[in-house]
Amino acid sequence: MKIKPDSMLDVGKIRKDFSILNKMINGKQLIYLDNGATSLTPEPVIGAMNEYYGEYNANVHRSIHSIGERATREYEKAHEKVARFINADFEEIIFTKGTTESLNTLAYCLTKRLKEGDVIILSEMEHHSNLVPWQQLAKEKKLIVKYIKINEDFELDLEHAKKIIDKKTKIVSVTHVSNVLGTINDVKKIGELAHDAGAIFIVDSAQGIPHLAIDVKKIDCDFFCFSGHKMLGPTGIGVLYGKKELLEKLDPFLFGGEMIKEVGFEDSKWNNLPWKFEAGTPNIAGGIGLGAAIDYLNKIGTEKIREYEEYLTEYGIKRLNEIGVKIYCPKNPKIRSGVISFKINGMHAHDVVALLDREGVAIRGGHMCAMPLVTKVLNENSLCRASLYFYNTPEEIDKLVGGIKKAKEVFQII
């Protein structure tokens, strides 16, 4: 067990930026361990969005008056911040409403050119958002979907991946970090397999980017998707990164204002990247909020966040193991994110969640939007999930453990 170095993070100071952490829930102080669902929002992010609405509430790329120009400048600056954060170019950053929209856009745009019998590779640990779009389009276009299996240690089975990724494979789309198991997948390796087969490689990093330093060039993925609200940003804003040469070749998915250069009654010309893929008035405040969230994460440092979360996760797993719950996560802490899914024998997850809520502890229970993984691979009806972020503390994990003990008492489980 690693001892927490004092230099790691000043969590006490960080927590002051999250006013919601002072909230009382059922007479107890809120202990928020549901970060996998959505993260909390720090004051600077709320402030940046309030500033937009209070100081320069105008549309972007249209109005040339002063506040319109400022809105455009700030909205574009947010794209730049995202680009720098993942080592991409400005033109490669498209704002969407979230990972789900990013993945759906890709599913529609990329399967357009596929033909019957072409293969799409996903994995058994996908969230519904990286499974259902492909599954449904495959049904429509008679494509074949195959799933990379997971091994006994809850990692992707790379040998199996090698076997199923072949010349018929056109798209490989996998999750960066499992929202149930917390496994950090070796996306670089899977990308190599995909590219060797001549396939497009997509990474769903909804659960990755909030916790890990990201360099899309190092991963060498063709597309990279994530949401703002899991990384301190607001809901309703997300990102679709794509390699420039690929985005240029793709037809736009949504048509309308903003995405056009020239419109006639017969035909239209598309706007430059990234705006070609941002039809309609975008979520301006959301984009600016995401930019502020990235500033916040940069200020703390992604490496430090990872280091602290690794320590916190190890502590959480150790404490939960002490009270005899069954945990589903990889053994190796280096490939484990702060997601701890567990099961208490004799109790349904929903009851655990409800009883913990009485103690002010917020966790998730159910299928976690990964029903095939939970019910078919892990053979569980539902799981409990505590998901951590860098503002959580070991003391909060102790409260979780105390809450579980109380819940077991209610259900008379020894």
Binding site: N26, G346, H348, A349, H350, D351, A354, L355, D357, R358, G365, G366, H367, M371, V374, T375, N381, S382, V410, F411, Q412
Partner: protein, 147 residues
């Protein structure tokens, strides 16, 4: 069911105050020792419903004879509220006609459980009733009875 059925001031995950503990002895008892747990191979009503949010599943079997329920069983997996409610409901069904069953309301389920449920747990508590009602509807459609 619409959300407007609920008091706006009610905590969505409300678990009752001390006089109204939802994890009462009788509920825990029905959860741990469900009554009528099992299958009926030849049953007029065999229907299952899933509550996809929390993963509760109920498979309900109702056997009728001369228009009356002579046996009701269930299988399933879910939280204490959904399982206890189903267990209690199967006890209540015996002797009832389809017309009696159709008159059952959510208030009957609450009365059976003896607790008031918040909006989130409402879905758990009423899953058994929805399963039953949909099962009855399918049976009636099959028999050509128009509602």
């Amino acid at each position: 069911m619409k959300n407007t059925d609920f008091d706006d001031n009610m905590d969505p995950n409300w678990l009752g105050d001390e006089e109204e503990e939802i994890y009462r002895e009788n509920i825990i008892d029905h959860f741990k020792n469900p009554r009528n747990y099992g299958e009926i191979v030849e049953a007029e009503i065999k229907h299952s419903e899933l509550n996809s949010i929390c993963g509760d599943i109920i498979r309900l079997f109702v056997k009728l004879e001369r228009g009356k329920v002579i046996d009701a069983k269930f299988k399933g997996n879910g939280c204490a509220i959904s399982m206890a409610a189903t267990s209690m409901l199967t006890e209540k069904l015996k002797g009832k006609t389809l017309e009696d069953i159709k008159k059952l309301t959510k208030e009957d389920v609450f009365e059976m459980l003896g607790i008031k449920l918040g909006i989130v747990r409402m879905k758990c508590g009423l899953l058994c009733l929805n399963t039953l009602m949909n099962g009855v509807k399918i049976l009636e459609d099959k028999n050509g009875i128009k509602n």
